[in-house]
Symmetry: none
Subunit: 401 residues, 2 copies
Amino acid sequence: MLSLEFLGELAQQTSTKIVLLVLDGLGGLPRPDTGKTELETARTPNLDRLAAEGVCGVVDPVARGITPGSGPGHLGLFGYDPLQFTVGRGVLEALGIDFDLQKGDVAVRGNFCTVDAHGLVVDRRAGRITTETNRELCDKLSGIALDGIELHVVPVKEHRLVVVFRGDGLEADVADTDPQLVGKPPLAAVAHSPNARRTADLANDFISKARSVLADSHPANMVLLRGFSQHPDLPTMQEIYKLTPAAIASYPMYRGLAKLAGMKVLETGASVADEIETLEQRYGEHDFFFLHVKKTDSFGEDGNFDGKVAVLEEVDGLLPMITGLSPDVIVVTGDHSTPALLKGHSWHPVPILLHSGTCRCDSVADFSEGSCVGGGLGRFPAAEIMPLAMAHAQKLAKYGA
Amino acid sequence: MLSLEFLGELAQQTSTKIVLLVLDGLGGLPRPDTGKTELETARTPNLDRLAAEGVCGVVDPVARGITPGSGPGHLGLFGYDPLQFTVGRGVLEALGIDFDLQKGDVAVRGNFCTVDAHGLVVDRRAGRITTETNRELCDKLSGIALDGIELHVVPVKEHRLVVVFRGDGLEADVADTDPQLVGKPPLAAVAHSPNARRTADLANDFISKARSVLADSHPANMVLLRGFSQHPDLPTMQEIYKLTPAAIASYPMYRGLAKLAGMKVLETGASVADEIETLEQRYGEHDFFFLHVKKTDSFGEDGNFDGKVAVLEEVDGLLPMITGLSPDVIVVTGDHSTPALLKGHSWHPVPILLHSGTCRCDSVADFSEGSCVGGGLGRFPAAEIMPLAMAHAQKLAKYGA
């Protein structure tokens, strides 16, 4: 895979524009009765026309056989090798609630839990307290003072919360405090490396103070922490590609991932139409747009084949709003497959189409898993999409004389 | 290529089963008069059906243009990067005679040779003595005592033997003693690195004592050694993939290679039918089976196009015995190509089919080199077959959140 330094040396700022349309969980599997995937079932004349005019292929989000989570899936799309750059669970949880994570922050997922009189965990989820109670308890915990750092305790849903330690010199290499079993006491936070000792000390101080604060809040009378992780401090897309990138995503986690890559997050509404309207309105301000459609994945996860088909048709119906803007490069793909048949993310490659005036058109006549396999782009890792899009937008200089 | 550590973190034990059917030397070249390869000539309705229902592609055993021996060919199929992990010639020779090689062992190939009164080699193969004479001489040589280690001297065929040094702290980095020319004396064993000095000393002691033992055994009055190599001590497939892998192979070398990967070697008969019967009988005991068919390669090596076609048809006829067991994943491929036209291994990619309930079916309708090129798996290194099979058996957890 090309290094980001190498790409950075070739990248040049131009007036051309790239739109990366990500249909989350796009790839599917054929329904046995029809032999057709979700994308093959959907009536998508506009996507088919783009595929016919452009060049197609399939991408492996990480590598053959590897099923990615949303973190690695999107890092790949943004041009980062998802095996080299990682987003930890605590960070992802923080991004998922729109928490404004800063470089250096250590984030960790928390659970409210119940401990008995001996301090042993009897319920790892504190009876799934309401989100309202969670909010009240997080407010209390936010009052805890820790030596020399800023503490953020933010509710998620039911018993889940995010704890963020903000300060200089923190490292995230700390073991979980969740014993994973009832009948055991919460574990102490243990540093896996000398540099993480301060984080572990702060975490232990937090836990001990949280125990006092929560003493009368049965069943949520203790917290367990897991997935200590740090803002990955990626080289940004401005730095690498000299772009002014923007993200349009109605779901917080994808806004957060885009922010990690240095994108400006644009305010938008909940629907695909809202998102595309935002693209139209802000089209003059940026030269790269990441537009994220969530529901293809959600319906895939639910095993709702027809629901996923309907979202694909909805997106297709709105596509002329995007093509009407005449971006120099349009890429349509997904961060991974989410076949309704498997009710979850999968390792299957994802179809991709690239539409541009600089395409060498192939013989693919419709946008589907089956057709894209024979496309001119071949099969390649998702992290190579960015250099390809940059090239088609004529934003990459010649390498060597 | 994905690291084995990375795969090991994702692998999980499940009840699903994988059958890897290896048709040795599967890939071929078209006969000029028909334009069809061995596989394209053979009538293989069952393989064709599997290909049509599954997903196909072609694999490069090592890399484009590289012709592999059996060692790298099989290491790749078992998921080891054949450029990173190697099996030396001495080790391979020992495996080929079913010698039970242990971790730490240094194995080396030997030739009985003839030396004249001045100690110069006059025949590097000692007039190709009979295997019977070889056996008697190896018995005598086995009586040699070496300081602090165990010595094994094992006959192969005609003038060929294997010498194994077993003991602590041995290294194999020792030069051949075979001068490769007549009229020269046998060379001393020279260590290429300080850690191998002990092995070199032991080898020189062995050679010197062998010279005495063989003094009256003209024409086999001396031995030459080459290919010092050590048990590669691979991380096993149990360790990496949490499998309980078993090998069914009628030829010793393939049993030996499977043993290196940690497979349990099942006793079986000489024919393909015997091997598949063993699969049926032992099917309940393991979750991964490597089933090796040798004769496709043997006929290829002999330049016997029709013989190779006949073996392919024989395998095809027996295939329903395998599919009848309904493994969750069946992979059919080869360790390399052995085109009858070239009478030897070749660098051409090898067709592969993967059949599973989790397949995204492609448009390939028959199992052949030509069809597989357009398959949904694309073209990829053989070492990526294991992660792919593991994924389709739903034995790999999601990477990242």
